[in-house]
């Protein structure tokens, strides 16, 4: 499988491996701290379980590295089709319970939505790396959007909006990397900026001035620029009008859907306790296994979504920044790899993997400090949970896979 003549291992690959295992270690310690004092045996089993998941994940990573990149290219659409099929099965099979995220296969149960993340990266990479693609053409752009929107819709219906949004999050960075003209990116992003800005006259005015200046810089001529300006003015005028037509409960629903409305009893409580945990950690933290918020279980979901709060409380600013910098290095190295990989497919796969990891990292850590809505996105390598950990290890595997074969076309 692995032909050494094709392979060239660089320092970047070792760095990424080292960071990955360091993060795994940090996560295991945090999970141990969060659950070793708990009476319930199921929770106390978290640590050994996660240890096993980490081993299984490492095996998955190695296998992912060993398989030639071309295999992923060939298998990408199949994998995509398979994961869509699984998502549909999940929706249908779980119809008796309101939330259906799991599928049981023999003794294992896994979340198809997690593996769909990999499938979408591969499918997008394959579609966008085809030399016939022209990202100036609406049709190709639309298909690329469709590849991401299909799993988004299926996962959002589960309902699991937090995970679903990841599929959209991948889209723009990947498609831009693949060569979407900056002007198109601009056109896609601008209406959303205008929507948000339109609730205040001055911000709206400022947004429009910026749009006009940027349009002048793009030099696309009046025939294209003027409709864009007019369209955005229309968006800016209509949005507040429509918004004010809505009932309070409708507004509430939309804000909740977007994750902007914080429910004071549910997620609000979690965020407050998480901020208290992190803030009370101070510079050096309360000491490992000594965090009162953690050990007395004031922290909700402290081994899963809020595992970073444990680190923040027990190891303080120093520990938090250490872990954050590990994440940052991982992402920067991976972006560099993406730019060094000589084939388009591999480069796009790496970038997709980076985007997924980065999206999870920023949203999750942002959530623990109250900067992001509580979406239920776990933290790569640190949060407890088998499916997601294996997916993250596979993503690392894909990055290294592309990196060591970067000269192969």
């Amino acid at each position: 499988m692995l032909r050494f003549s094709e392979v060239k291992i660089s320092n970047d690959d070792y760095t990424i491996l080292a960071i990955t295992f360091l993060l795994l270690l940090v996560g295991l310690v945090a999970i141990y701290s969060a659950s070793y004092q708990v009476e319930t045996p199921e929770l106390r089993a978290n640590f050994p379980h996660q240890l096993i998941w980490a081993l299984i994940g490492s095996i998955f990573m190695i296998i992912t590295i060993l398989i030639p990149t071309s295999f992923y290219y060939i298998a990408s659409y199949w994998l995509y089709g398979l994961s869509i099929l699984f998502l549909i099965i999940t929706l249908l099979s779980g119809s008796d319970s309101p939330v259906s995220r799991w599928i049981d296969i023999g003794p294992f149960r896994f979340q198809p939505s997690e593996f769909a993340k990999i499938a979408v990266i591969l499918a997008l990479a394959r579609f966008l790396s085809n030399e016939k693609r022209n990202l100036e053409k609406i049709k190709d752009i639309a298909i690329a959007f469709g590849i991401a929107f299909l799993p988004f819709t299926l996962v959002a219906k589960q309902p699991n909006l937090g995970t679903a949004i990841v599929f959209l999050g991948i889209l723009l960075p990947v498609i831009y990397w693949a060569g979407l003209p900056t002007f198109y990116l601009f056109i896609v992003i601008i209406p959303f900026v205008v929507m948000v800005a339109s609730f205040n006259f001055y911000t709206f005015f400022l947004a429009m001035v910026m749009i006009i200046i940027l349009l002048l810089l793009f030099r696309r001529g009046l025939a294209i620029s003027l409709p864009i300006v007019l369209l955005n003015i229309a968006v800016g005028v209509i949005t507040p009008l429509l918004w004010n037509q809505l009932h309070v409960y409708q507004k509430h629903r939309i804000l909740t859907f977007l994750g902007l409305e914080i429910d004071p009893k549910g997620s609000g409580y979690q965020v407050i306790q998480s901020k208290v945990a992190i803030g009370s950690g101070g510079l050096f933290g309360k000491g490992l296994f000594n965090g009162t918020q953690t050990q007395l279980r004031f922290l909700p979901a402290q081994h899963t979504d809020f595992v970073f709060s444990v680190i923040g409380e027990e190891t303080g600013f120093v520990g938090s920044i250490f872990v954050i910098i590990l994440f940052l290095l991982l992402l920067l190295r991976s972006i560099q790899i993406a730019s060094k990989v000589r084939n388009q497919f591999g480069s796009l796969v790496v970038l997709g993997a980076v985007t997924i990891l980065g999206f999870h990292i920023i949203v999750n850590i942002g959530m623990t400090v109250g900067m992001m809505p509580v979406t239920g996105l776990p933290l790569p390598f640190l949060s407890y949970g088998g499916s997601f950990l294996i997916v993250c290890m596979i993503l690392i595997g894909l990055i290294i896979n592309a990196s060591i074969r970067r000269y192969k076309y």
Binding site: W177, V276, I278, G279, I324, G366
Partner: protein
């Protein structure tokens, strides 16, 4: 198959910069939370984990002068449920509800409303009766999660009611919480609401202690905090009263069906020996939450049982007040003691006729005789001679219009009408001069409390020396037995000579012991009693019956005032109660009881 890369080299810089910016924002946020706001969040986390457990000190008890316990504490039990335990089985709630005479739905709604954590006990019912307590205890094994905790509750073991004196406890209200004296109190705390419980709240209460325990997110106690030591509680001080339980019980029993009251004070100290106001209420009522309908019925009761008539009610003093006028006249040389007047049974003044109480009149009387027989006509004339101004001056000299400052609340000051008062009521100099005739016999706009009349009796008995009234003898610290006495400074009423007192006392002696005295029923045994009756006309029906006095005559030990609302003649109705008082106080309760 796979085509070579065609991307712009600069793109990865753009992506890297974007990632770095986002991470810098995160790092900034961590700096803000962990460095800049560290102490704020640290305190919040301490508040999370540390629970303060209040240790209620035992409330001081109240004892009489001989050390008999009048107001005590007894354990009472409240039933609590621990939500986490109770939720496990429906049968527990059902059984508990049945024992407490509640429906399971009621119990559930209380738990839902009050629960503040899985492991915080929720109070289901306050002060259960003994039977309920026994049943809970018996079925303990079937009631996991149902617990009881003891709460201090007052009891009155001596059989002394005196509800107006003792007052009662109740949950602090929002108004009280805003007052500085209740700083540090919390809603739901039990404090003295009336009477001594209120006046000596601070002393009785003691100092709360605190324990600090570490709790987890479910409210379960994990451990005692080692770094925060326990603050011990200090028990409240015991109140030793000047009250004589035997005397108090005796008067309460004697006056049980009457409307009025009596006050007996120690002439040598000003200590109150008995203070009875009737109708009253059973102090037991307030030891548990008072049902709304019972409270309403007490408030609306025409007998006004909640009022302390001795302290809070104002009455015209009637003939008892003739003492004040006699003193004013003697001191100003308006008459000499031998001055005589003929009473035909009435006095014509202007167009009006003022009657004496005795039809046909008393005939010729001197001052002592007029006091003995309480002749109105004599005092009408004395009033006319003395005049309003002098009368008012001497009324104030005897401290009327001033509260006694006894250690109770809501005491009234009364009213001594004078020139300025009548000018205000009628217009300047437009008031009828005949008013002074009414005032001379203690009628009209003159208003006094029974306490003030007892004070007058004491001043006469002591010939000018007055000891401020008080119920508290001393505070005793139960921990070390240390006593703390209130400082009582005697007051000397100036401007009245011993000779004047001698004449008045002579008259008062004859009221009880003279052949024509109005209160011959007041004496008992060998004890010589001096007194003065009063029969005060009032718009509410029968006149109020008064009797004030002191005993023994030679060396006064006690002074008293008895009032019976709408009781009729003071000599006939009030004086026999004085006899009861003398008998009990000087001959002892046993003998007193035996002879009733």
């Amino acid at each position: 198959m796979m085509r070579p890369i065609i991307l712009i080299e600069k793109k990865h810089y753009l992506y890297s910069i974007l990632v770095i910016i986002l991470f810098l924002i995160l790092i900034g946020r961590f700096f803000y939370l962990q460095i800049y706001k560290r102490s704020f969040y640290f305190e919040a986390s301490e508040r999370n984990r540390i629970r303060e457990i209040v240790i209620e000190p035992p409330r001081g008890v109240i004892l009489d002068r001989k050390g008999e316990v009048l107001v005590d504490n007894r354990p009472s039990y409240s039933i609590y449920a621990i939500p986490f335990e109770v939720k496990k089985a429906d049968s527990v709630l059902k059984l508990a509800a049945q024992i407490m005479n509640m429906t399971p739905a009621e119990v559930k709604s209380i738990i839902r409303r009050e629960a503040s954590g899985y492991f915080y006990p929720v109070k289901l019912k306050r002060q259960i009766d003994f039977e309920t307590f026994v049943r809970i205890e018996e079925q303990k094994l079937d009631l996991p999660g149902i617990i009881y905790q003891s709460e201090p509750r007052r009891s009155y073991p001596a059989g002394v009611r005196a509800p107006h004196v003792f007052g009662y406890l109740g949950e602090i209200n929002k108004d009280e919480l805003t007052k500085p004296e209740y700083k540090g109190f919390r809603l739901g705390d039990v404090v003295g609401k009336k009477g001594l419980e209120r006046v000596y709240e601070k002393e009785l209460r003691g100092l709360r202690g605190y324990q600090y325990v570490e709790v987890d997110a479910f409210g379960r106690e994990i451990q005692r905090l080692k770094d925060k030591p326990e603050v011990p509680a200090f028990p409240g001080k015991n109140l030793h009263l000047t009250m004589d339980a035997d005397l108090q019980r005796c008067i309460e029993a004697r006056m049980d069906t009457l409307r009025g009251g009596a006050v007996v004070v120690d002439c040598k100290t000003g200590g109150v020996l008995a203070l009875v106001s009737k109708p009253d209420y059973d102090p037991e009522i307030f030891t548990k939450p008072v049902p709304a309908d019972l409270w309403r019925s007490m408030v609306n009761d025409p007998g006004k049982p909640l009022y302390d008539r001795m302290v809070q009610s104002l009455y015209p003093p009637g003939s008892t007040y003739k003492i004040v006028l006699a003193a004013a006249a003697l001191e100003n040389g308006i008459i000499h003691p031998g001055w005589k007047n003929f009473c035909p049974g009435y006095l014509s003044f202007g167009k009006k006729t003022f009657d004496c109480w005795k039809q046909g009149g008393h005939g010729e009387l001197d001052l002592i005789g007029a006091i003995e027989q309480s002749c109105n006509v004599y005092f009408y004339k004395l009033g006319l001679r003395t005049g309003l101004d002098t009368w008012a001056t001497y009324s104030r000299q005897f401290l009327f219009g001033q509260p006694t400052d006894i250690d109770l609340i809501d005491e009234k000051a009364g009213n001594v009408p004078d020139r300025a008062y009548f000018d205000r009521v009628f217009g300047k100099d437009r008031w009828p001069k005949g008013l002074v005739l009414n005032l001379a016999i203690g009628q009209g706009d003159l208003l006094v409390t029974p306490l003030q009349m007892a004070r007058l009796a004491m001043i006469v008995a002591n010939e000018g020396v007055y000891y401020p009234f008080h119920l508290l003898d001393y505070l005793e610290d139960p921990a070390d037995g240390k006593r703390q006495y209130a400082r009582i400074d005697s007051v000397y009423i100036k401007g009245i000579s011993p000779a004047t007192y001698q004449i008045i006392k002579q008259g008062m002696y004859l009221v009880v012991h003279g052949p024509a005295g109005t209160a011959r029923a007041a004496s008992y045994g060998d004890i010589k009693v001096a007194g003065k009756t009063g029969t005060a006309q009032n718009p509410h029906g029968e006149p109020h019956a008064w009797f004030i006095g002191f005993a023994p005559f030679e060396n006064p030990q006690i002074a008293f005032c008895i009032l019976i609302e709408n009781g009729g003649s003071g000599g006939r109705v009030a004086a026999p109660i004085a006899r009861e008082i003398i008998k009990t106080y000087f001959y002892g309760a046993e003998k007193g009881h035996a002879q009733i």
